[in-house]
């Protein structure tokens, strides 16, 4: 039962062909096989959201998805959202607003926030707090995280209006 099966995925725009055991979790495929260690594991019980990535444009907890389930899908991780020198407005906003302390929760927070802003481009503070309920932070008390997301929402909306 430990034979591997082929999985084809597009990760951050790049086609990848890998062999995985059916029990391999998506987060381990990303971290251990593809070397994308920006996606973190904080709990293993599907609660903390540190492992949040996008599958076909929607956020999910990659510790609760089997790699075989995403065969044929497009995955975006924090590494694919923006790059050094060309950060995504959310990454920029977390930096500018001190939206992190230790940084462990940050990749998951940002990926969850990206889904939130795509569902609701102009959220209220309350909507941001609710929208991030699947992500835990042990350091910040959330205040600056919420501030960062609201800041990014404002900047993204200005960009869109200007575009």
């Amino acid at each position: 039962m430990s034979t591997t099966v082929p999985v084809q995925v597009t990760v951050n725009g790049q086609a990848r062909n890998v062999q995985v055991e059916p029990r391999q979790l998506l987060v381990h495929l990303l971290r251990d096989q593809l070397g994308l260690t920006g996606t973190h594991v904080g709990c293993d019980t599907s609660n903390c959201g540190a492992c949040t990535v996008h599958v076909d444009g929607q956020s999910c907890k990659s510790c609760t998805v089997l790699a075989v389930q995403v065969d044929g899908a497009e995955i975006t991780t924090i590494e694919g959202l923006g790059q050094e020198g060309n950060l995504h407005p959310l990454q920029e906003a977390f930096w500018n607003n001190h939206g992190l302390q230790c940084g462990y929760c940050t990749p998951g927070m940002i990926m969850a926030a990206a889904d939130l802003l795509q569902r609701n481009p102009d959220p209220s503070e309350d909507e941001v707090r609710h929208g991030l309920e699947g992500n835990l932070c042990r350091c910040t008390g959330y205040h600056n995280i919420v501030k960062s997301v609201l800041d990014a929402a404002g900047k993204l909306n200005v960009t869109q209006v200007g575009a």
Partner: protein, 283 residues
């Protein structure tokens, strides 16, 4: 933490899926969104030998209106229900309160109903709306009413070789609705949840009321005493308060580390009041 080893197959049709289940034996399991099953497998509380993934089976997706009811494909995700707050009423309302967005983006209605957890939200909605599921098995399809589906803790009347293909819920046009879920932390399952739907007569009195309870027993339950107390009454705060006092009548809720039996009974009454006020537009 990773699951014990298993085989995996992705059938392209319902018949193939049923065959795979049969060939896989008693430890073969269907996989939908995986958001009940995979956490159990990671904890090794479940160790299926074969997973039959439904994601490529055609015809299991989508939300359509047919003859006064909604037909919802079994593989429809919670997020798709959540987004239909303009027309799916209490179904969308309850779906929006499940866990968090990441879970709602993966979990499916068919998986939630088949899992049959009385702490989950959609089983209560199905029971309250008196909906049905269609199950396809080796001998064809049958329709199972909500009241017959949920049998006990995590136990349904589905045969091991049956697959839920679709869910039907009456559209409840003209009914008011509310869903109230009490949790200790965001993202938790309901400590207690209450669904209420109410239809009024022309004179404003209650023609019909249905109240469903989440996590108040081994299956979702109906609060029949509270329902009966409302019928014929005007939908006022006073009448609602009087009826809500009966919400826990006859229930025997399981105590857990968050709530004693008495506390759950108390919550059921308080939340029934809130859900009814929401349904009446008094909230």
């Amino acid at each position: 933490m990773i699951p014990a080893a298993f085989d995996y197959t992705v059938p392209g049709s319902l018949d193939e899926a049923i065959d795979a289940l049969r060939d896989g034996g008693e430890d073969a399991k269907l996989l939908a969104g995986g958001h009940s099953l995979v956490p159990l497998m990671k904890l090794r509380l479940a160790a299926p030998t074969l997973l039959v993934d439904l994601r490529r089976v055609p015809g299991l997706h989508g939300i359509e209106r047919q003859n006064g009811s909604w037909r919802i494909g079994a593989m429809t995700r919670h997020a798709e229900l959540q987004d239909r707050h303009d027309d799916l009423g209490v179904v969308a309302h309850a779906a929006a309160g499940i866990a968090d967005q990441q879970v709602r983006n993966r979990g499916t209605i068919g998986g939630s109903l088949a899992h049959g957890d009385s702490a989950s939200d959609l089983p209560t909605i199905l029971l309250t709306l008196e909906g049905t599921v269609t199950a396809m098995g080796p001998d064809g399809a049958r329709e199972i009413a909500a009241a017959d589906l949920f049998q006990d803790y995590l136990t349904t009347s589905l045969d091991p070789l049956e697959i839920i293909t679709e869910v039907r819920m009456p559209a409840m046009d003209g009914w008011g609705h509310g869903y109230q879920k009490f949790t200790r932390r965001a993202e938790d399952w309901a400590m207690v949840g209450v669904a209420a739907v109410v239809r009024k007569n022309d004179d404003g009195t209650v023609a019909e009321a249905r109240i469903g309870l989440t996590n108040m027993g081994s299956t979702p339950l109906r609060a029949t005493a509270a329902e009966e107390a409302l019928v014929g009454q005007p939908l006022t705060a006073e009448a609602i308060a009087a009826a809500a006092g009966h919400a826990a009548d006859g229930t025997n809720p399981p105590a857990d580390r968050n709530a004693s039996e008495d506390y759950k009974r108390h919550l059921a009454c308080v939340l029934t009041g809130r859900a009814l006020r929401e349904a009446a537009g008094l909230a």
